[in-house]
Each structure stands twice: as C-alpha cells, then as structure tokens.
Symmetry: C2
Subunit: 206 residues, 2 copies
C-alpha cells in the first residue's frame, strides 16, 4: 500500500490482532495507535467524529480514510493476495466463515474473555451475569462446529490458508482466557499449530 496505514486499536483485542496478523503474514507495514477502551478512549467526541462514529476499534486508516470492522479491515489489507481465493464459490465461502465468526463466535468467546479478564466477574451487571451460561454454551457450539469442519479439512476454505482462518484464529487461540477447554477440540488445536507454524506468524502480544 502506497498510502500510510495506521491501525487504531486496543492491542489485547482479538479483533485488532487479526488485522496485525494479516499484515504480518503479507509483510505489509502498519503503524499502530493504541487506545485504552477501559478508559473510554474510543468514545470521545474526537474519536467518534474523526475515526469511527460507532465508537469501536479496530479501525484501519488508509491515508485520510477509515475502515471500521475488523474483518473488512483484514480484507482491505489482503485484497489481491493469496489469502483471498479468487474462485467465486470459495470467495463466498470465505466470507461465510468471516460473517459466522462475527455472529456466532466473537459475541460468545470474545465477550466472555473480555468480561472475565478485563471487566472482572465481580463487576458484571445482572444482565451480563445471566448471559454467561448461554454464551458459554454458544461458544462451545461454535468451537464444536469448527472442530467438526476441521475433521475433514486442513483449512476453512479450499486447500490453503485464507482470511477465514486468520479471522477465526484470533479469538480461538486465546479461548482458554475465557476458560474454554481447547483440549476438547483436538482438530482446532492442530489447526492453531498449523497457523502458528507460518514463517511470518506474529504472536498476539508481539
């Protein structure tokens, strides 16, 4: 990319890590700007006005333009690379897994991780407390569906790693932060190791 690229992020977020990992695997440099979401730094008038009216990170800045939504930011970075299949069905299938990640996986696995490790169980609202069990059930169902898929496939789409793998990897590989037991999903564990074995793999805390 010829324009300056800045990732507006909270680096412990898996959604932000996805974008860094995509860039790292492709050897694309990204500037990073950190916000403390626990202090409301993504809800300031300046952030809402200039970066993302939705008050969330990550946001990928390209020159003077901004792309919110982690999976859209990953797509922008990887556009034209071998992380995005060009065959019509495989391309839609990649997007299928990326939409599934944001609808069925992230709101369960990532939200429990955030509540348990950042907010703290003792600080949860009554409503959040009531949601913990359904989110755990749904998170385990998501991991089960992934494990079942990976029983017949090395990667989520086609025969090579794609953005679908990267987007699903981000919160899956740290699911134990939310007390999910990855040992129950052995194909997921093998897939995690395959991704970690990529020569340009970047760890979440790197």
């Amino acid at each position: 990319m010829t324009e300056r690229s800045v990732l507006h992020e909270f680096s412990a977020s898996g959604n932000c890590y996805k974008v860094r990992l995509t860039a790292a695997l492709l050897g694309i440099p990204l500037e990073r700007r950190e916000y403390d979401i626990m202090k409301g730094e993504t809800r300031t008038p300046e952030f809402l006005q200039n970066v993302n009216a939705n008050g969330r990170i990550p946001v990928l800045q390209i020159g003077e333009r901004f792309i919110p939504e982690s999976n859209a930011a990953c797509y922008y970075i990887a556009d034209g690379s071998n992380l995005i299949p060009t065959e019509r069905f495989d391309h839609a299938d990649m997007l299928r897994w990326m939409f599934w990640e944001q609808y069925n996986h992230e709101p369960n696995v990532a939200t429990l991780r955030f509540w348990m490790r950042w907010v703290g169980i003792d600080n949860l609202s009554e409503l959040q407390r009531l949601q913990m069990t359904p989110k755990r059930t749904a998170g385990n169902a998501a991991l089960r569906l992934m494990d079942d898929h990976l029983s017949g496939h090395e990667w989520f789409v086609g025969e090579v790693m794609s953005l679908a793998d990267i987007c699903l990897f981000a919160y899956t590989h740290v699911a134990s932060d939310a007390d999910f037991d990855l040992k129950s999903y052995p194909k997921v564990v093998e897939w995690i190791e395959r991704i970690k074995g990529h020569p340009h793999y970047l760890a979440m805390d790197a």
Copy 2:
C-alpha cells in the same frame, strides 16, 4: 449462474429476503424452499447434515454446494455485478457496512422483531425480557448512525446502490414491526424510498 440455485429460507426473515432482493435486482432466478423455523425445521438431523451444520437459514444452494450466512449468499449472487464496487477502498467499505449490519443492527432490530412478532412477548424467557431494553437502545443507536451517514450520502458506499444498501435495507424497512419509530430517522426513510423505487424492486412478501 448456470448451476441450479435454491434458497433455503424462512421467507419472513429479513436475512432471507436480502438474498431474494439481491437476485431480483439482478434478474437472477432462484428456486425457494421454505422451512418453518418455529417448528424447528432447520434443526433436524437432515438439515444439519445436508444443508447447514449451524442450523440456520438462509442457505444458498449452488448445485450441490451450500453457502450459509445471508451476506455471503448475497455476495455470491452479486459477484461481478454493479452491486459490488471494484475499487479497493469502496469494496472494503461495503464489507464494513455488511459486517456492521450483522453485528450492530441485526442482533437488535431483527431479534426484537422476531421476539415481538413471532415468539410473542408473553413467551419470552427472563433473559430475553431483560435484553429488550438494551436491544432497543442499541437498535436505535444503529438507526441513528445510519441516519447520520445518510445525511451526507445517498447510498452507504460511493455514489450508487451496493450490497451494503440491500443488506441494511432488509430489516430496516420493517423495523416498525419491532416498534422502532422510523419517522425519527428521516434520511433513512428517504433512502428506503429510493430502494423501493428501483425498477426491479421486490417486496418482502412477494
């Protein structure tokens, strides 16, 4: 598309309607197969085994292959058409709105609509009842963000209608089913009328 295309759907679902509307706008024929989700017809062993292991509709069948997730199915149908911008930023920006729709709009506007019109308020669980107010707040925030964006733009991305508009339209134009007051969002109302004015517009109940 040369292969037979079948939409596995529950026709009152906005997520299913998106796929029909995309096909209609492009003049692409779709076979339809209806499932009664209130009777669990998408959770049968046959459905889970043969159509979607995630137990949800819509699923777009192309020949013998299946694409779950409404926005991925819309993308497959529209791939290569003028509903998908080819410029790199605009393409990612379209995906941004489609991911935002599934994360910030659908779980609020669509879920409240489903609870109020299909499940029925009296049949909600304690947890669902507690979620109604936060979902209404978040649904109104989503409609507000759309209205603000449309104050400066006719369409969500660039200067023409794209899949972002279609995916956002599906549940927005029936938000009053969930007692959202669209009159509070006049730019959204104008945008709804622009979409309805398309020569190949297909109504939800058509």
